[in-house]
């Protein structure tokens, strides 16, 4: 085997320029695929990193399950069951309602427990206090999100400590909906959280449920001790018929999308590989012509068809190995160039937050598997391209081949 390659190497060394050109042809194709794939991978990694940074990976968002027409509600007993699962730190149920002030300002209300704040740690008070559900009074204490507070200050001239009356519309099982009024007192105002909480009004969950007369929760946040156990806890939750989502879903979605995009781009950049393959076919056919006499001689000296085929395929394999190595190196070079040139371009085009998020780190990512695939492509390509010429060489009649001038 070693000798076969030594022999093949000898043959290749006689036509260095030709071999270099084919190797370069294949390598450029491989490098194009590697560059595109590395870009796709780099953007994917960036996106996933961003999701990880902005999402709590240890929280599972539970909602009512609906399967085959059966609705499974989040009830007290279900929450109890979930809390007993291993790795579950705590659960924070909540209800969602919509109140309207006397001046027809709509308020998105969320009835929460103190644990809710344990999950959304970005909820900081700017003024006032969080409500204390243990103290009963004839009004309901509320905390306003940053934007709601601004709106109410402008439209209704309300601030911390002010009281006002709001209505909630209740839809019973039968009959027309009825409205119910309640007195609210603004206990505190939140700092800007930069998310949907800025438009939210918070109220204690017990009072909220008294108001809306619901007997099940609208949602439940489950905190798990480690991201690694999120999947298993999630499965348990789904087993009892509830719907569960986590940041992992978003990550999975991004992964799926980027893998698909990368595959499509990689496929099209791979078309350049066809050119490389044709070069190998062409060069090897020429080589068979040039060495017809040598092939006839080898057969006269006792070479079988298989021996001849092996010599030509060994040459292709060497070309493939060289193309793979050079392709990997060029591919790394390509991705560095994409990073240097493409990143500033992307940042300026995307602008804003998305662009700024690309600032750190690189937009391309070369992984060992990308390089391995690039190498393998080059190998397979050259062997497959060499099959036809090698077969052609092997099938030459020794006598005819020897007669060739």
């Amino acid at each position: 085997m070693k000798e076969l390659f030594a022999l093949a190497g000898r043959q290749l060394r006689r036509k260095k320029l030709r071999v270099f050109l084919i190797v370069l042809g294949i390598a450029i194709g491989v490098a194009a695929v590697i560059g595109v794939t590395a870009l796709g991978e780099g953007i994917r990694v960036q996106a996933v990193e961003q999701i990880k940074a902005s999402h709590d990976l240890t929280t599972i968002e539970v909602s009512a399950g609906a399967e085959a027409g059966n609705v499974t509600l989040i009830t007290e007993s279900k929450i109890k069951a979930i809390k007993q699962e291993e790795h579950v730190l705590f659960g924070a149920p909540y209800v969602k309602d919509s109140y309207v002030t006397q001046n027809n300002t709509y308020l998105a209300v969320k009835g929460v427990t103190p644990e809710y704040r344990g999950i959304h740690s970005n909820l900081e008070l700017e003024r006032g206090n969080w409500f204390d559900e243990s103290t009963h009074s004839n009004y309901t204490q509320i905390v306003l999100g940053y934007d709601v507070a601004k709106r109410l200050a402008v439209t209704e001239d309300l601030g911390v400590g002010d009281e006002f009356v709001a209505k909630i519309r209740l839809y019973g099982e039968e009959g027309p909906p009825r409205d119910r009024s309640t007195a609210l007192k603004i206990a505190g105002i939140l700092e800007s959280a930069g998310d949907e909480h800025d438009n939210q009004v918070f109220v204690g969950i017990t009072e909220a449920m008294e108001m809306d007369e619901k007997d099940a929760y609208d949602g439940l946040l489950v905190k798990v001790d480690d991201p690694a156990f999120v999947a298993s806890v999630r499965e348990k939750i789904e087993e009892i018929g509830l719907n569960a989502q986590s940041a992992q879903d978003v990550i999975d979605e991004v992964n799926r999308l980027m893998v698909a995009v990368t595959l499509v781009l990689g496929f099209f950049s791979g078309i350049s590989l066809v050119v490389g393959a044709l070069m190998v076919v062409n060069t090897m056919i020429i080589s068979v012509y040039e060495r017809t006499k040598e092939i006839g001689l080898s057969k006269a000296l006792g070479a079988s068809d298989l021996d001849i085929m092996k010599i030509f395929l060994a040459e292709c394999l060497i070309i493939g190995v060289m193309g793979g190595i050079l392709g990997d190196l060029l591919g790394i070079g390509f991705s560095v160039v994409i990073d240097l040139v493409g990143k500033p371009f992307l940042i300026s085009t995307l602008g804003g937050e998305l662009g700024a998020s690309l600032q750190s780190g690189s937009i391309t990512a070369i992984t060992p598997s990308i390089l391995a695939v690039g190498f393998a492509i080059s190998l397979v390509l050259s062997i497959v391209s060499g099959l036809y010429p090698a077969r052609r060489a092997a099938r030459l009649s020794p006598l005819d081949a020897l007669r060739q001038i």
């Binding site: 022999l7 040598e294 006269a300 000296l301 006792g302 021996d307």
Partner: protein, 227 residues
């Protein structure tokens, strides 16, 4: 190796019609003999050599090598015969340009399995080079050697797999007369020392006569056989 043919006939079909290359050739060559086949161009002497060397197949007739009939339809057995029993020497030397002298001599051993070790093969190739007096040229490429030297290396190569039959097609045809004579002397010496059958095609009747049995061939038929 004894070589025997019975009713050996070869036709070629070329454009307008049938060309007779060999017609009903009966031949018997004893082991260790040195036979020269002489005849003008197109007399069929090279065709005879190619058929005996399993490179070509007859239209009719039989060939026996060491008493065993050659099956020309069995490609694999032909490969084995060429590999193990036959050594070729060509008019145009046919060395592989990419390989140096000793590698050219080793080349047929590469195909002859079971493979001996690389070092054993090289050692044997060096011995063969010494036999033809070219051990000092071992690392030269064919392009760096004279015609006579190339043909000596080709002869060493023909001996690589210890063949029982050497087939030489005009081995001196591309050489000047002095060099040609030294090549013939070499073949005679090897024939005497190694005791293998040598069949040589030539158009040089005078030198052929000195070597041993001469077979004259004309229009595909054996005309006479003389010692």
């Amino acid at each position: 190796m004894t070589v025997e043919t019975k009713g050996l006939t070869k036709y070629y079909w070329m454009g307008t019609g049938k060309v007779v290359a060999l017609e009903d050739v009966d031949l018997k060559i004893e082991e260790g003999g040195f036979i020269s086949i002489v005849g003008p161009s197109g007399s069929g002497k090279s065709t005879l050599l190619n058929i005996l060397g399993c490179l070509d197949s007859p239209t009719k007739g039989k060939v026996f090598l060491d008493g065993a009939q050659v099956d020309y339809r069995n490609k694999k057995s032909l490969v084995i015969l060429r590999r193990k029993f036959v050594g070729f020497v060509f008019q145009t030397f046919n060395l592989i340009p990419a390989l140096n002298a000793v590698e050219n001599v080793e080349y047929p051993m590469y195909f002859n399995k079971p493979l001996k070790s690389k070092s054993e093969r090289k050692e044997k190739a060096m011995k063969l080079l010494a036999l033809v007096g070219l051990e000092k040229r071992a690392n030269h490429l064919p392009s760096e050697l004279s015609g006579g030297e190339q043909q000596r290396i080709a002869i060493a190569r023909a001996f690589a797999n210890d063949p029982k039959l050497i087939l030489a097609d005009e081995p001196t045809g591309n050489l000047d007369s002095v060099t040609g004579r030294s090549i013939l002397d070499l073949l005679t010496r090897l024939n005497n020392e190694e005791r293998m059958t040598i069949i040589m095609v030539t158009h040089d009747f005078e030198s052929a006569k000195r070597m041993g049995t001469v077979i004259r061939i004309l229009d595909g038929r054996i005309q006479q056989q003389e010692r």
